[in-house]
Amino acid sequence: MILEKVKAILVEELDVEEENINLDSKIKDDLGADSLDLFELISKIEDELDITIDEEDYGKLVTVGDIVNYITDKQ
């Protein structure tokens, strides 16, 4: 469920194809996000999944899998 929601947000925010998103896809290197995109992404995830992501943890969110794990742990 979480992966599906994260994928949907990534598709919308980064204009990438869903089939190109895997758990080990790197947000910046593979999906083409820059720092501003990453921030918008995080804000969207916070709003839609109703969680707060601490600023200190931004650096940990390198791959799609990292994001899914982080959200799972928070919920």
């Binding site: 820059d34 501003l36 921030f39 804000s43 600023e55 200190e56 931004y58």
Partner: protein, 319 residues
């Protein structure tokens, strides 16, 4: 007299901040702005806490008025600087690139006003949630590190997105700019480029001359690929950057080229191979004046314009 909530929030006469410009905004410039009724701002840049402490002591000896310190969160000394600012009971902290999250709480607990500079609505909302007292939204017209959006587009969208006061920055060089951003919903202005020409500004005269001579199309943004794009006046160094960009150069190559270049321009006066950071409004700013003259002229002009704008409105409707 133009009076906004920013005046009472920070206890200043004019709702104007002087932008924190690395290597340039020192205690002397900031003191002159504060004495003139605005908020003078000392730029921390990548300086050590010891260096910044000296500047803070200096400004306190030059003025009793409120002042701010711009903290560069990406600096290796950010931690020490943050603690210093709390010890020194600095009235206002302005944050630039980087995430102030963990410091913001400490600063607020110390009774300091915290005002982050943001390039987008998402950042503005984020900082409001964290407890910022106001937001500076900075358009791409500004000099130095820039975002993508223009002041014209960014300001009203940020104003709509947050409840805290918004200060607009980027492209404001005279009273018209002040009147314009107040119309967009801002409660104050931040000005950088025009203050480069203040008599109290210690930047090298060559740098000032280049800004004086500049016209509207003389700035360029370099280093977009690095994620830290910078607006500067065109010169030989910019051509070198463009070559690297044309040949698909790496981020490392660009960062290597950029190292130490602001110091070269601002302190050593090499305006050919130094980074002459400046906003697009450089074409408009054309005289050297004291901070007091700059501020009173800008606000007198803004007030006249705002009073005269109603002359566009006639009795009937536009049918």
């Amino acid at each position: 007299m133009i009076n906004t909530v920013i005046c009472s929030l920070l206890n200043i006469k004019y709702p104007i901040f002087q932008g924190g410009m690395a290597q340039i905004s020192d205690a002397e410039l900031a003191a002159a702005v504060s004495e003139a009724g605005g908020l003078g701002v000392i730029a921390s840049g990548n300086n050590t806490a010891e260096f910044i402490e000296k500047e803070i002591r200096k400004i306190k000896s030059l003025t009793d008025k409120p002042f701010g310190v711009n903290v560069m969160l990406l600096s290796p000394y950010a931690n020490d600087v943050s603690n210093l600012l709390i010890e020194e009971k600095v009235p206002v902290i302005i944050t630039g690139a980087g995430n102030p999250g963990k410091y913001l709480k400490l600063w607020k607990e110390a009774g300091i006003k915290v005002i982050p500079v943001v390039p987008s609505v998402a950042f503005a909302k984020h900082f409001e949630k964290l407890g910022a007292d106001a937001i500076i939204c900075e358009g791409t017209e500004s000099g130095g590190h820039v975002g993508e959006l223009t002041t014209m587009c960014l300001t009203p969208q940020v104003v709509d997105a947050v409840k805290i006061p918004v200060i607009a920055a980027g492209g404001i060089g005279d009273g018209r700019g002040i009147a314009a951003v107040l119309s967009l919903g801002a409660q104050g202005v931040q000005v950088g480029t025009r203050f480069l020409l203040a008599t109290e500004c210690n930047v090298h005269q060559n740098y000032k001359d280049k800004v004086l001579k500049a016209n509207d199309t003389d700035t360029a943004v370099t280093g977009r690929k690095t994620g830290h794009p910078v607006r500067v006046l065109k010169n030989k160094l910019v051509n070198q950057f463009k070559e690297i960009e044309k040949n698909n150069g790496t981020v490392e190559e660009m960062e290597q080229l950029g190292r130490g270049r602001l110091y070269k321009a601002a302190v050593e006066g090499d305006v050919d191979y130094g980074s002459v950071m400046s906003g697009q409004i450089a074409g408009l700013v054309n005289k050297e004046q004291s901070c007091k003259e700059i501020i009173t002229e800008m606000f007198d002009e803004a007030e006249t314009i705002m009073k005269n704008l109603s002359s566009f409105i006639s009795g009937g409707s536009n049918e």
